[in-house]
């Protein structure tokens, strides 16, 4: 019961604390306006380069932008505690770690989903893409799965945050890698073979492809395999991330480096 409490109450408290500093003056410019302009930037570059349709870039960038809240907010659950000088108190608490960390991830998934969904709708309306009404619900589900898989990567990123001082630098670089490799703007088959191999094992690649196919009129059954792969990638990154966090926690105790990083 205590673990359930830590999962839900701890996660909610962490989320509220995050939004204590993530005020509307941060939320709206960063998570509402910026993704729309990212979409517009690539839509217009796409028109200039005469490569793909507007719909291709709207879907790719809207979903990929979920990485901003998923990576930064997840990392902030560690870095923020360090900044507030409360990380040590949390790590000496007897709370079980799995509900502690996964509970903090749940609101991040929802936030990532919300960011991507708003960007998809607003960007789609501005650019004027035509998606069948029956596709919106499955696309929303795919977006949720993508937010989940990226939060798994965010958990790994948060683990690195225990030993790396420059969390923001690391999160931005991961964001850039996802932007290039996930096929959000460049069709995967246009990338070199080694990049295509990387694309296969990162969040978003399968989800974005699934969402595009849904927007083109395919049914959820047609893309279920892609959605499943996206979810598995999220589970794997989440498991690795949790393991890394635990390992870094142990190392930081042993080397007394918790506050130094």
């Amino acid at each position: 019961m205590n673990s359930v409490r830590v999962f839900f109450v701890g996660g909610l408290t962490s989320y509220r604390a995050l939004f204590g500093w993530l005020s509307p003056w941060v939320f709206i410019p960063s998570l509402v306006v910026a993704p729309v302009f990212q979409i517009l930037l690539f839509v217009y570059i796409g028109r200039s380069a005469q490569l793909e349709s507007d719909e291709f870039y709207v879907i790719g960038n809207a979903i990929q932008y979920a990485s901003i809240p998923c990576l930064f907010a997840m990392t902030q659950t560690i870095a923020g505690e360090r900044f507030q000088q409360t990380l040590g108190y949390i790590l000496i608490s007897p709370a079980r770690r799995l509900p502690l960390y996964v509970g903090r991830a749940l609101p991040v998934v929802l936030n990532g989903f919300l960011t991507a969904a708003v960007a998809l709708v607003v960007g789609g309306v501005i650019v004027g893409i035509d998606v069948p009404a029956s596709s919106w619900a499955p696309i929303a589900f795919v977006t949720l799965v993508c937010a989940f898989s990226c939060t798994g990567l965010g958990l790994l990123n948060a683990g690195c945050g225990l030993v790396v001082r420059e969390n923001a630098v690391l999160s931005n670089i991961i964001f850039g890698v996802l932007l290039v490799f996930s096929g959000s703007n460049v069709p995967i088959d246009q990338l070199p073979a080694w990049m295509q191999s990387v694309s296969e094992v990162i969040p978003f690649t399968h989800g974005i492809e699934a969402a595009r196919r849904l927007a083109d009129g395919e049914t959820f059954g047609d893309v279920a395999g892609l959605v499943g792969e996206e979810a598995v990638i999220g589970v794997v990154y989440g498991a690795v991330g949790y393991t890394v966090i635990r390992a870094m926690e142990i190392l930081s105790r042993r080397w007394a480096t918790l506050e130094r990083a």
Binding site: W25, A34, F42, Y44, I45, G46, A49, Q50, V180
Partner: protein
């Protein structure tokens, strides 16, 4: 002479400070490379007849704005956190002369990014860098850097009342990339967007750089960019005067 010394020493001092920050140097160099890489792939794969150097120059200048927008938005907040804002405002020198070299230094750091992007395009994508008019290019790059720094100065002053000014600065990164024509010709935008583009110095800066490299009228573009940069500084100083008077009257400088 004293003012010039203050501006140059302020610029040098903040350049040194910024080069110690991995956020401003390492990330400032690497982050635009992601966008440049995507642009190179898109222009290579697409049917657009423009030379890849056109995209490479645009992507290179994106880095200058990238290093400036968020950092300039945050310039005053940073002084607040350091507890130095009141001291700088209270100093006998006008605060504008303190802030202007800070934002120009931020833009200057972008030259690292510009060089890295051009080098990246050459090494990885085989984009040859051929400059048609080297003198114009040598004038266009510093003019672009200084005017982008001036735009950052105006932003920093405009956001003086916002506690989370960095987020507003960050918000303007994509729009300026988009409508300044770094990677998209202005002719593709709706007619109502173009006057906004013309009011932005980076639009004329990239036009000058492209004109110097690929042929065009770089000197006229340099002149317009410089004039706009001077206008930004003048407007920024006027805004700064009003903001400082209001902050002193209401004791709101620290926003606490």
């Amino acid at each position: 002479m004293r003012t010039l010394r203050l501006l140059s020493m302020g610029w040098l001092f903040h350049m040194k400070m910024l080069t110690r920050s991995s956020f401003n140097t390492f990330l400032g160099i690497v982050y635009p490379l992601f966008f440049a890489t995507i642009a190179f792939f898109m222009f290579k794969a697409g049917d657009d007849p423009k030379p890849l150097l056109w995209a490479s120059l645009g992507a290179a200048v994106m880095g200058i704005w990238g290093t400036t927008s968020t950092a300039a938005g945050n310039a005053l907040s940073r002084e607040r956190w350091h507890g130095t804002l009141e001291l700088l405002v209270a100093a006998p020198t006008h605060f504008s002369y303190v802030l202007l070299p800070v934002t120009i230094a931020m833009a200057t750091i972008g030259i690292y990014s510009m060089c890295a992007t051009l080098l990246w395009g050459w090494l990885v994508f085989g984009i040859q860098i051929e400059i048609g008019d080297p003198l114009a290019f040598a004038l266009a790059v510093p003019a672009t850097v200084i005017t982008i720094g001036a735009l950052g100065f105006l932003m920093a002053v405009a956001f003086v009342r916002f506690r989370q000014a960095w987020a507003l600065g960050n918000m303007f990164e994509y729009p300026v990339w988009l409508i300044s024509g770094f990677l998209v010709p202005l002719s593709l935008f709706p007619a109502w967007v173009r006057p906004i583009s013309w009011a932005l110095a980076p639009t004329w800066g990239i036009a000058a750089i492209r004109g110097a490299a690929l042929g065009g009228s770089p000197y006229a573009d340099i002149a317009v960019a410089t004039a706009l940069g001077a206008a930004y500084v003048a407007i920024g100083i006027a805004l700064m005067n009003r903001a400082l008077v209001a902050a002193r009257a209401r004791a709101t400088l620290s926003l606490t």
